[in-house]
């Protein structure tokens, strides 16, 4: 079992390496190079040469990749092109903000959606189940900014319970911070909760078609009891995987939400970097997002191996 997990972890690390090469290579396929892309039309051969030297573009690609990657894993992402600031010092507080928001949303979303998913599975086909189904389908098919603006319109503008912009400072007290970030957290919750609810429901229901569940019913147990004590322990493995996968999804969802609420997180930082075409910033953010995504996916795989004995002995 340890060997399977180790293989999976090594595979995750290899993927991360391949992804880092991909992120780096993306800058190489550019016709011309970063220097000419940044300087644009007004570049003279002289300024191009100086700028290339400044960026270190006069050296071969594999040397620059090795330098960039070893720097990146030590937390040295270089300097931003636009304001010459150290990227790490700009990213660290933003990364903390993003993790805070994602964690806040996860704390609401995970218990809520798992509980509702189980409830929907217990009441399969009844009103509660169909209601959960319709609401979750609706939240999946509308764009995330629509939900965000609706929430702002009702809770920030009409009812004035929460601010419409989530401005946070480093030395803000926690209670204030929780209040200010409530709307973005709820929006994110709705986004991932819909997926989680549907997946939880279907994994509980797929267990429900097993013979031992039928046996439990034939013994005369109530539906609630069958679901909670017979089906749920066996559905735990897929549910844990679902949670980890959706936390990965949360990372992507956070980008748009941060822009809507003008929340100073890493997603907004990346979008800013893209519109200013600040490549080192975009690469650094991309690597962090991809790293988090791959880590969570690997954790999901490892957890499902740990929880489900059948996966420990692959044929």
């Amino acid at each position: 079992m340890l060997r399977i997990i180790a293989t999976r972890v090594v595979l995750g690390i290899l993927t991360l390496l391949a992804v880092s090469i991909l992120i780096f290579a993306a800058t190489e396929i550019l016709p011309g190079d970063v220097a000419s892309a940044v300087l644009g039309q007004g570049a003279t051969p002289e300024t191009l040469r100086v700028f290339r030297k400044e960026l270190g573009l006069d050296r071969p690609a594999h040397v620059r990749y090795a330098e960039w990657f070893t720097g990146a894993i030590q937390g040295n992402f270089g300097k931003a092109l636009t304001n010459k600031r150290d990227i790490l010092t700009s990213i660290t507080p933003r990364l903390k903000n993003t993790l805070f928001l994602a964690g806040y949303a996860a704390l609401i979303a995970v218990p809520l959606s798992v509980a509702l998913g189980i409830l929907a599975a217990i009441n399969e086909g009844k009103l509660a189940d169909r209601l959960a189904n319709i609401i979750s389908l609706a939240t999946i098919s509308v764009p995330e900014f629509f939900i965000a603006y609706l929430l702002i319109l009702f809770f920030a503008v009409k009812l004035r319970y929460f601010p419409s912009l989530s401005t946070v400072f480093a030395d803000m007290p926690l209670s204030k911070k929780l209040h200010v970030t409530a709307l973005p957290a709820v929006t994110l919750t709705m986004l991932v909760a819909a997926h989680m609810l549907r997946m939880t429901r279907s994994s509980v229901l797929s267990i429900m078609s097993q013979p031992y569940i039928e046996m439990a019913f034939l013994k005369g147990l109530s539906r609630t009891r069958v679901v909670l004590t017979h089906a749920l322990p066996n559905a735990a493995a897929p549910i844990i995987t679902v949670i980890a996968l959706n936390l990965a999804y949360l990372i992507v969802g956070v980008v748009v939400i941060e822009v809507v609420f003008v929340y100073p997180g890493i997603g907004q930082f990346m979008v800013d970097g893209v519109s200013k075409r600040d490549l080192p910033v975009v690469q650094a953010c991309g690597l962090i997002f991809a790293g988090a995504f791959i880590t969570l996916n690997t954790v999901a795989d490892v957890l499902s191996i740990l929880v489900n004995p059948r996966l420990r002995h692959p044929v």
Binding site: I152, L153, V255, G273, V274, L279
Partner: protein
Amino acid sequence: MRLFGHKPTTLAWVGLAIIGFFSLIAVLAPLLAPHEEGAVVSDTWAPASGSFLLGTDNIGRDMLTRLMYGARMTIGVALTCTILSFIIGTTLGLLAAVGGSLLDQVLSRSVDIMLSIPLLVFALMILSMFGSSIPTLIITIAILDSTRVFRLARSVALNLVVLDYVEAARLRGEGLWWLMRREILPNALPPMISEFGLRFCFNFLFVAGLSFLGLGIQPPYADWGGMVRENGRAIAFGVSAPLWPAIAISIVTIGVNLVVDWILSINARPSGASAEM
């Protein structure tokens, strides 16, 4: 009335009506629109009135006109992306299934690596390199999305490759291209049709999302995601301007989803009832 030899359900009809309605608006936008696409006709965020049925936007353009032209742009771009992505994804997917294990390994592993980065993050990186123009946007989304199509096409085709009639065609000496186009593709199409609808929804939301971030379709073109962005600040004053394009996006997505659900239910029917407890 029957479609594909089946009678659509009520919900499917609703979906079809929505798709038909918005396609018509998209095609006929210049004829239907009450004002010029970019014309400034009133004050910023004027309320709805007789001449501006949905009010005006952040620089005083007619919201209804912008919505109609936006339908053209947003639906058009998303549809082009999806068609392109299906051409690329299906070709490569069938090639991977037919063309032997080495080709399959190379293609599948490359796709695995691309799928291990969130699509949005990947798209942001590419757009920061090339800048955002409509052709770049379409090609970027089409290539990223084709990885999903590739996976489906490959797995469907792998089940078909082992069938006798493919073997027979191989033995009579047909080439790779013939096998893909004449033997496998026609039989792989049914599951791909509902996938087309799902991928369209995804690309549609993706284009709208990128434009909302200011990185997709650029002004002066009207597009729904960009319109939400331009009018976003209005919400703080209780003006519903950004909600109109957002509602339009939601309605189209829900409409396509309703039709896809119906097509899926047709395809699922012959395989027997699901385990019902």
